[in-house]
C-alpha cells in the first residue's frame, strides 16, 4: 500500500520511495529511506497535506508525494 492510504496513528515501514528525481532526492535526504518507520500524525484541515512523524521529528508532505511512497503496515 502507499503512504496516503495509511491510517492516522498507525506505524508503518517504508518499502520504496518513487516519484520524480528532485522530490525523491529531497525525501531521501529528509530521512525517508527504505526501512524507516513512519507514522501519520494528522491530515491538514483541508485534507491535504499530511503531517508525518519519523526519526523523531515532524514533516509535512502532500498526498501526491505520499502516493509515490510504498509502505507496509506494522502490526
Amino acid at each position: 500500500m502507499t503512504l496516503d492510504q495509511l491510517e492516522q496513528g498507525k506505524p508503518a515501514r517504508i518499502v520504496n520511495v518513487g516519484g520524480d528525481t528532485a522530490l525523491r532526492r529531497r525525501l531521501l535526504d529528509m530521512g525517508l529511506t527504505p526501512g524507516t518507520v513512519v507514522e501519520i500524525d494528522r491530515f491538514a484541515p483541508l485534507g491535504d497535506p499530511l503531517e508525518l512523524c519519523l526519526r523523531g521529528y515532524h514533516l509535512s508532505l502532500r498526498l501526491g508525494a505520499a502516493r509515490d511512497i510504498e509502505v507496509e503496515a506494522l502490526p
Binding site: L23, L28, R42, A44, P45, D48, R55, L61
Partner: protein, 707 residues
C-alpha cells in the same frame, strides 16, 4: 580566516550568528528565514569572519539556497566549517554533517538546544560523539549563549591548526566499496578541482549535474564509474540515491542511539507541541483560529491601540512644528523658509512618523508568530488553498509578510524550492496591502467614509487578495505552466518566542522604516515642496503656477476617467512611487494652497466615488521604488523594472476605472447599474481565464513536440 556557518533550516543558525558577531539578522522559527548569505566579524577574534549560509538539509543542488551554500563551501573561500545541529533532532541533522565531513575541511560541530535535550530528560555523550565523528563537538544553547565562547575557541583553534576530520571514511558495505573504487579512479580529477576524492565520488554516484561536467571525466572513466555503480545497485537491490542516503542514515542511527541516554521519560517538549498542534491544526478549529489570530494582530496594530499611540505621536510632532514655525516667524525669518520647515519638514515627515507605533506593534506580533513555529503550521494548513493557484503553502508566509512590507516579503520568496514558485509569488505579493498603504487608507477612509472606515479598509485588503487569486489562476495557465514542486516542509516544535530575537527583528524593521522616513520620504517631501513652491523660472510661484502643477496638469487627463484628474492628487500619486506613505505628505503639501483644514482640502479635491477610486488605485499601482527594486532583483528578467511599473500601473488603472464607475452608480442610488459594472468586470476576467485554459493543452503539446 573565514568560517562557514552551516546547518539545517531551523537549527538556530542565525541566532548563533548573532551571538558570535553581534550582527542583527532576522531570526525565526520557520525553516528558511536566512534568505541571503551574510558575512560578520567575530566579536572575540578580530581575524575571523563568519559566513552565515542559508539553512540546508543536504549538499545536493535541490533548491537555490542549497546551491548558494554549496557554491560557497566549494569555492575555496572558506577555511573551516562551523556546523550547527539541533540536538533534539540529531538523527536528521547529522545527515548533513556526514556530507560536510566528506568535504575534508577543518570542522567543528555545535550541538545546539542542549537545554531542550535536558528538559526532555535526556543527555548526549559528547565525548563519544566526538570519537565517532572524528571532529570536535561543543554543546551549546544559542538562545542563552551557553557554551558559545567555548565553541568559538574550539572552531578557531581547529581551523587555525588545520585539523581536518579524523575519520573521513564513515561507511561500510557495498556503497563503501563502490565509493573507494570510484574515488581511486577519479582522484586526479577531484584534486584538480580541489575536492576530496571521496566527496567527488559521492557526487559521481548521485549523478550531480553541476559537478560532473567540472570533473571532466572521459568516456572510459564514466563507463567504469557507471559499471561500479550498477554493480553496487545490483548487490544492494536498490538504486544509487537510496543507497547513499541509506548508507548515511545507517551510520547515524546506531551512533545516535549509542550516544543518547534517556534518564527519565519526560518528553514534555514533544508533548507540548503535540498538545498545541491538537488545537491549532485541528480539522475544524485551525482556520477559524488562524483568522482570529490574524484579526487580533491587525486589530492591535491598526485598531484602537495602534491608533491612540499614533495620534499621540503625530500630535506631538505637529505641536513641535508649530512651535518652531512661531519661533522662526518671531525671529523674522523668510516666510519661504518658515513654510519649508513647518509644511515641508514637520508636516511631511511628521505625518509618516505618526505610523511608527503601528509598524512596531505589527512586527512584534508577526515576529512572535515566526519565532514560535506557528508560521510553519500556517504553510501546512494553507497549502491546499495555494495549490489551487499552482503554489505551495510555503508561499503563504511571504504573502503574509506582504501585509507588513513588500520588500522583506519579496526577499523571503528566495526560500521557495522552485524558480517558478518564486516568480509567481513575487508577482502576487504586491496585491497584499503593505503597511505603508495603511496610512493612505486610514486617512482617506476617515475623511470620506467616516461611518464605515473599517469596512472600507478591510474591503481593500480583501479586494487585493481576490485579485491575487484571479491573477494567480490566469498566471498558472499562461506564464507558469506546469505543477509546482510539491513541498516537503519540516514542522519544528513550538518554542517560546525569544524576546531578544523578536526585539532585534522589530528594532531592525523600525530602523529600516525610520531610515526610509528620513531619507526617501524626506527627500520626496522636500522635492515636492520645492516643485510646489517655485515656478519653472525658480521664482516663488503663485497659486497653480508651480513646476509640479505643470507636471500634474500634463498627467492629469490620464487620471480624469478615474475621477481624480486634479494635478494635486496626480502629483501625490506620482510621489507615492518613492514610498507609499509619501502620498499623504505630498497631498498635504500640494493641497496647502486650498482653503480650510486638510480634511476640507481633501473634500474639495475629491468626490466620494473619486476617493474610492483613488483608494483602489493606491492599493494596486506600482509598488514603491524599494519594492520594485527588490522584485527586479528576485525576478532577474531583463527590463523587469519598467515592466513591473508599467504593468502594475496599467492594471491598477483598469480596476480603479471599474471601481469608480461602480462607486458613481452606488452614490447615485443606481444599485442595479453598479452590479452590472461589476458583472462586466467579472465577465472580462472569465473570458481571459477561459481563454487561458483553452491555451493550456496546446502549449503542453507544443512542449512535448519540442522535446
Amino acid at each position: 580566516m573565514i568560517l562557514a556557518l552551516v546547518g539545517n533550516q531551523n537549527s538556530g543558525k542565525t541566532t548563533l550568528f548573532n551571538r558570535l558577531t553581534g550582527a542583527r539578522r532576522q531570526v525565526g522559527n520557520f525553516p528558511g528565514v536566512t534568505v541571503d548569505q551574510a558575512l560578520g566579524r567575530s566579536r572575540r577574534y578580530a581575524d575571523v569572519e563568519i559566513l552565515d549560509l542559508p539553512g540546508i538539509y543536504s549538499l545536493s543542488p535541490y533548491s537555490s539556497e542549497e546551491r548558494i551554500s554549496r557554491d560557497a563551501l566549494m569555492s575555496g573561500r572558506c577555511d573551516g566549517i562551523l556546523n550547527i545541529v539541533d540536538a533534539t533532532n540529531l538523527e536528521r541533522n547529522l545527515y548533513l554533517t556526514l556530507q560536510l565531513i566528506d568535504l575534508g575541511l577543518p570542522m567543528t560541530l555545535a550541538l545546539n538546544m542542549m537545554d531542550e535535550v535536558e528538559q526532555q530528560g535526556r543527555s548526549i555523550d559528547v565525548a563519544a560523539l566526538e570519537e565517532s565523528l572524528g571532529i570536535p563537538v561543543v554543546p551549546i544553547v544559542a538562545n542563552s549563549g551557553r557554551g558559545v565562547t567555548e565553541l568559538m575557541r574550539t572552531a578557531y583553534e581547529t581551523t587555525l591548526e588545520q585539523r581536518r576530520p579524523l575519520r573521513p571514511d564513515l561507511c561500510s558495505g557495498p556503497v563503501h566499496r563502490a565509493l573507494h573504487a570510484i574515488a581511486a579512479l577519479i582522484e586526479d580529477h577531484a584534486e584538480r578541482c580541489q575536492l576530496t576524492p571521496r566527496y567527488a565520488a559521492t557526487k559521481v554516484i548521485e549523478g550531480d549535474e553541476l559537478l560532473l561536467p567540472r570533473l571532466g571525466l572521459n568516456e572510459n572513466e564514466l563507463d567504469a564509474c557507471e559499471h561500479i555503480i550498477t554493480e553496487m545497485e545490483r548487490e544492494l537491490g536498490t538504486d544509487r540515491l537510496a543507497a547513499l542516503a541509506d548508507m548515511r542514515y545507517s551510520f547515524i542511527q546506531p551512533m545516535v542511539a549509542q550516544v543518547t541516554q534517556l534518564h527519565a521519560d519526560r518528553s514534555q517538549m514533544s508533548d507540548r507541541t503535540a498538545r498545541i498542534d491538537r488545537v491549532l491544526t485541528h480539522r475544524i478549529l485551525a482556520l477559524p483560529l488562524f483568522l482570529l489570530i490574524m484579526a487580533l494582530i491587525f486589530w492591535i496594530s491598526f485598531g484602537p491601540i495602534g491608533l491612540t499611540l499614533s495620534d499621540c505621536f503625530a500630535d506631538a510632532i505637529a505641536a513641535l512644528g508649530a512651535r518652531t514655525a512661531e519661533a522662526l516667524t518671531a525671529a523674522d525669518v523668510n516666510p519661504v523658509v518658515v513654510s519649508l520647515v513647518e509644511d515641508g519638514v514637520f508636516g511631511g515627515v511628521g505625518s509618516v512618523l505618526g505610523f511608527l507605533p503601528m509598524i512596531l506593534l505589527l512586527f512584534t506580533l508577526l515576529g512572535m508568530l515566526e519565532d514560535s513555529g506557528y508560521m510553519a503550521r500556517i504553510a501546512f494548513f494553507m497549502d491546499r488553498l495555494l495549490q489551487h493557484i499552482g503554489l505551495s503553502g510555503s508561499s503563504f508566509v511571504p504573502m503574509l509578510l506582504g501585509f507588513g512590507c513588500t520588500v522583506p516579503a519579496v526577499m523571503a520568496t528566495r526560500t521557495l524550492p522552485s524558480r517558478r514558485d518564486r516568480l509567481m509569488t513575487v508577482l502576487l505579493v504586491p496585491f497584499m496591502s503593505c503597511s505603508a498603504k495603511v496610512p493612505v487608507y486610514a486617512l482617506l477612509a476617515s475623511v470620506f467614509f467616516p461611518h464605515c472606515q473599517t469596512l472600507i479598509i478591510v474591503g481593500l485588503y480583501i479586494l487585493g487578495m481576490l485579485l491575487a487569486v484571479a491573477n494567480g489562476l490566469i498566471l498558472r495557465n499562461t506564464v507558469f505552466l506546469g505543477e509546482s514542486i510539491p513541498f516537503v516542509l519540516e514542522l519544528p516544535p513550538y518554542r517560546f518566542p525569544s524576546p531578544l530575537s523578536v526585539w532585534r527583528d522589530v528594532r531592525q524593521r523600525a530602523k529600516d522604516f525610520m531610515t526610509r522616513a528620513f531619507t526617501v520620504i524626506f527627500v520626496v517631501t522636500l522635492a515636492i515642496w520645492f516643485l510646489e513652491t517655485f515656478d519653472p523660472r525658480l521664482n516663488v510661484a503663485g497659486d497653480g503656477e508651480s513646476i509640479l502643477a505643470s507636471l500634474g496638469r500634463l498627467a492629469a487627463p490620464l487620471f480624469a476617467p478615474l475621477g481624480f484628474g486634479d494635478w494635486r492628487v496626480v502629483s501625490a500619486v506620482i510621489s507615492g512611487f518613492s514610498a507609499k506613505e509619501a502620498v499623504i505628505s505630498a497631498l498635504r503639501v500640494a493641497a496647502g494652497g486650498l482653503a480650510g483644514s486638510f480634511e476640507a482640502q481633501l473634500q474639495t479635491l475629491l468626490s466620494v466615488p473619486a476617493a474610492f477610486s483613488l483608494l483602489v488605485f493606491v492599493l494596486l499601482y506600482t509598488p514603491c521604488s524599494a519594492a520594485v527594486a527588490a522584485m527586479a532583483r528576485e525576478i532577474r528578467i531583463r527590463f523587469s523594472l519598467p515592466l513591473i511599473i508599467i504593468f502594475q500601473t496599467a492594471y491598477a488603472w483598469v480596476i480603479a476605472f471599474f471601481g469608480y464607475r461602480t462607486a458613481l452608480h452606488v452614490a447615485a442610488g443606481h444599485y442595479l447599474r453598479a452590479i452590472l459594472v461589476l458583472l462586466l468586470l467579472l465577465g472580462s476576467w472569465l473570458l481571459v481565464y477561459v481563454a487561458s485554459r483553452r491555451r493550456r493543452p496546446a502549449t503542453v503539446k507544443q512542449k512535448a513536440k519540442g522535446s
